[in-house]
Amino acid sequence: MVLLRRELALAWARGGGPLLALGFFAAAVVMLPLSLGPEPARLARVAAGAAWVLLALASLLSLDRMFEPDFEDGALDLLSLGPLPLEAVAAVKCLAQWLVTGAPLALAAPIGAIALGAKPAAAPIIAAAAALGGLAFAFLGGAGAALALASRRGGLLIAVIVLPLLTPPVIFGGAAIDNFQNGLPWLTPFSLLAAYALAAAALTPFAMAGACRNAAS
């Protein structure tokens, strides 16, 4: 679809493409042990969790420019006058954001976690949690970005709106990974994560479209 193609190109340019998202993640993974000191035991314990938080933070980095440029340069007006309702446009934007940054990060997350010392057996669940988490982050982040449009103080206002919303998936995902590593039941938190991510993907497009219309009028 033409919109998806464009949004992918824009998300690519915005975040600098998956390569750069991965670079950010890699650098952060490098920084963590540097600032913690090299003791492997200390590291291994926090590895999976830390990778998970870094992922959430990495996916926040370019969120604030998901709607703002289109709002500022009038592209949002054009998008409102197209064949699809704004809800669908917003969903496609988030999907593109996820494909460009979330999906590659989901592949990188287990590698980063293992590099930090997590058990290799946890790799699939880390990747799955990261993929679902990335979906939630992209859609909830998009909602925050759209809400902040009207206010014109991007960046951290978005963070403040979005972080409370991101906390539940972070809890669920962290719990799933942690329980898995410790042999506890992990399916409940994991399915909560999945439910949360899918609910976010289903519901936030309405919020985003409303927020965009509100900002433009």
Binding site: V2, L3, R5, R6, A9, L10, A13, P69, D70, E72, D73, G74, A75, L76, D77, L78, L79, S80, L81, G82, P83, A216, S217
Partner: protein
């Protein structure tokens, strides 16, 4: 398709403005700076909600709900052209045309008509003001919609392009199109004039 616009009381800007634009007609909106021309265009396009009053689209497709009719009928070209500076001019034009219902061939044809063919590989950011406006206007030709909402369309164009675009507007009207243009200088086509504001 013809078009009836009734619009009243948008903030304190203007009130009880009513007008009806019919097929083949061009309307020049004039008025002082800040009178509300741009706002009126956005209201007609459905981007800004009016304080009171409605804009009705009555056309051959009278069966469509008003909002869908509007979405299919309007082209809006303003100062904010929605073109991304970093992307190639050709890619941006193609997206805008496809998005508003045209196809690739018509986009190319429109670019040629606007004298842009040579520039399509350049990033939009390096285009001059007039070239950029021509790029924004090209989608009017490429994806046919009935109502053109234009905000000071001619100002950055050179004399040659103005003549050309006048001709293009004429053709649009001859096909039964409608034009609503906010201007400070007279349009190069015969147009009914509506003064906005006090």
């Amino acid at each position: 398709m013809d078009d009836l616009a009734v619009q009243r009381g948008e903030r304190i800007l203007f009130s009880k403005l009513s007008a009806r634009v019919v097929a083949g007609e061009a309307v020049a909106l004039t008025g002082a700076n800040g009178a509300g021309k741009t706002t009126l265009l956005r209201v007609v396009a459905g981007l800004t909600a009016p304080l009171a009053g409605t804009v009705r689209f009555e056309g051959v497709r009278g069966d469509l709900p008003n909002d869908d009719a509007r979405r299919e009928a309007c082209h809006l070209v303003g100062h904010q052209d929605g073109l991304k500076g970093a992307r190639a001019a050709g890619a941006e034009l193609e997206f805008q045309v496809l998005w508003t219902g045209g196809d690739r061939a018509s986009a190319e044809h429109a670019a040629a008509r606007m004298g842009l063919t040579r520039l399509l590989n350049l990033p939009v950011r390096v285009l001059s003001a007039g070239q950029r406006r021509r790029l924004a206007l090209a989608r009017l030709i490429a994806s046919p919609r009935a109502l053109w909402l234009l905000d000071e369309p001619l100002s950055p164009l050179d004399a040659e392009s103005r003549r050309l675009f006048g001709q293009i507007m004429g053709e649009h009207l001859a096909r039964g199109g409608l034009i609503l243009a906010a201007v400070h200088d007279p349009l190069p086509i015969p147009a009914r004039q509506i003064r906005v504001g006090a």
